[in-house]
């Protein structure tokens, strides 16, 4: 699932320029860190891919689908190819861990036996088997994050987007989550991680795309969080 962005500008009312003239290609199976200070446009870029928003200018094509022209009746089917870990998790507080994960598949109308098998498998993979009947508010931040990851990967997405998945987590928890993301990537899924976690970026070196005030400032293979010499 290739992602092609050409000349993307996104402005918000009244005159906030969140992204400006962004050209970015991400190939199938890549692992990309999206780094940059708060407000640099990372979340906006991810929301363009999920098509929560459309660009003010420029084209974005995902898997040969021009998202600007995507018909709203096709949008649900497009989103089934994506797995998204939102910055604020967006877990549903009145559903258990299991239900939070399973309802993605239920929403696709998948037979309940398969829903059960697959959901349980994913919950086990993220290490939450013992907590599958708990509610999100009974879990720690790292555990909630893992529920969000489980929910994002349960539909075996072609593209996996994670917005600050290790924000506010201690190093060990962050590391285990990072390993989860790498294993998802190893299975062939394109993974894009927006983060400002310097340790992780430097510990697991991957392609780094740096945003600065809405523009791409740097794009390098096996990059570090900061440009060499900046610190």
């Amino acid at each position: 699932m290739d992602i092609r962005m050409a000349g993307i500008t996104k402005t918000f009312k009244p005159d906030i320029v969140a992204l400006e003239d962004v050209y970015l290609n991400i190939d199938r199976g890549e692992f990309v860190y999206l780094v940059g200070a708060t407000g640099s446009g990372k979340t906006t870029l991810l929301r363009l891919i999920t098509r929560e928003i459309v660009p003010s200018r420029g084209q974005i094509v995902v898997a040969k689908r021009n998202l600007r022209k995507l018909r709203s009746s096709h949008l649900p089917y497009y989103r089934r190819d994506l797995g998204v870990v939102f910055q604020d998790f967006k877990l549903l507080p009145h559903l258990t861990v299991y239900e939070n994960v399973a309802f993605v598949l239920e929403a696709m109308g998948i037979p309940s036996r398969i829903v059960r098998e697959r959901s349980e498998q994913v919950i086990d993979e993220v290490g939450l088997w013992r907590m599958r009947k708990n509610y999100p508010l009974q879990l720690s931040g790292g555990e909630q994050q893992r529920v969000a990851i489980a929910r994002a990967m349960v539909n075996s997405p072609a593209i996996f987007l994670a917005d600050e998945p290790t924000g506010n987590l201690d190093f060990h928890t962050s590391e285990s989550i990072m390993k989860l993301l790498l294993s998802i990537n190893a299975a062939g899924t394109t993974v894009i991680v927006a983060t400002h976690d310097q340790y992780l970026v430097d510990a697991y070196r991957q392609r780094v795309v740096e945003l600065h005030e809405g523009r791409i400032r740097r794009d390098e293979e096996r990059g570090r969080y900061f440009v060499d010499g900046e610190l």
Partner: protein
Amino acid sequence: MASFNYALRDTFRLIFRHWGLSILTLVTAVSLFFLLGSSALFSLNVKNIVADVENDLVITVFMRAGEDVAPLLSTLEDAEFIDDIKAISPEEGLSILKSKLGDQAKAVSLLGENPLPWSVQIMVKRADYATPLVRDLMSFPSVEEVVYAGQLAEKLSRASYIMNRVSLAVLALAIIITALVLYNTVKIAIYSKRREISVMLLVGATKSFIAFPFVLQGMFLSTIGAVLSVALLAIAYPVIGNMIHNTLMFINVLDDRDLLFRLYLILVGTGMTLGWLCSWFAVHCYIVSAGSPD
């Protein structure tokens, strides 16, 4: 099938989560369909009675006290539109009345002296001969009163026409209120799940999938309301019918099982349709047209 089960489960969750609202909606729906059903039963009965008496070809003429029937009889004898004509003496009249009244006959006996005058029963060949004949009979000085069912039928029809107008307005209002309550209940349910709905949209649920439980919720509440009201009607109608028949014996309360069954079926069908319409409308306003990207 899986998604239908999911929707069904969600529907019941919605209904129980907002149980107070669900009960309010149910009560409103039951009231509406009870009102609808009972006014339908009322007008069906009026129609039935009117039809009954309209076909009654008998005209009863009551003479003034002490007047003789012979002149009247001889005038009418050779009229070809008359099938049968019979003079009834006060004594005969009293015994007929007593047999009609059954238990209440004692009251008549208490009157002591026979209060009835001579009367004449005329049977016309066709109902439409009755009205002109009645007019003629009234002009006889020896005639005190002319009673014929057609008159009653006319009065009843006129009364029920006016009542229908009034009850139609009341029913329209009741339908509007119920529709608003249903619409609102579904709207509130949608509102309470807006977070869930936005997440569902993000993970690729179609709008119709998301909307389905809400449509079911509205339909379910409305249909159950209709079913409950039908149950109430089915219990109350025979009881009230009996009461009416016991006090006003000349009224035959409608007891056509087929017709009643059809009426009840129509009520339930109306319940389903109303629920579907209202929730579809709410869903359309708050789910289907929502969530387009900015």
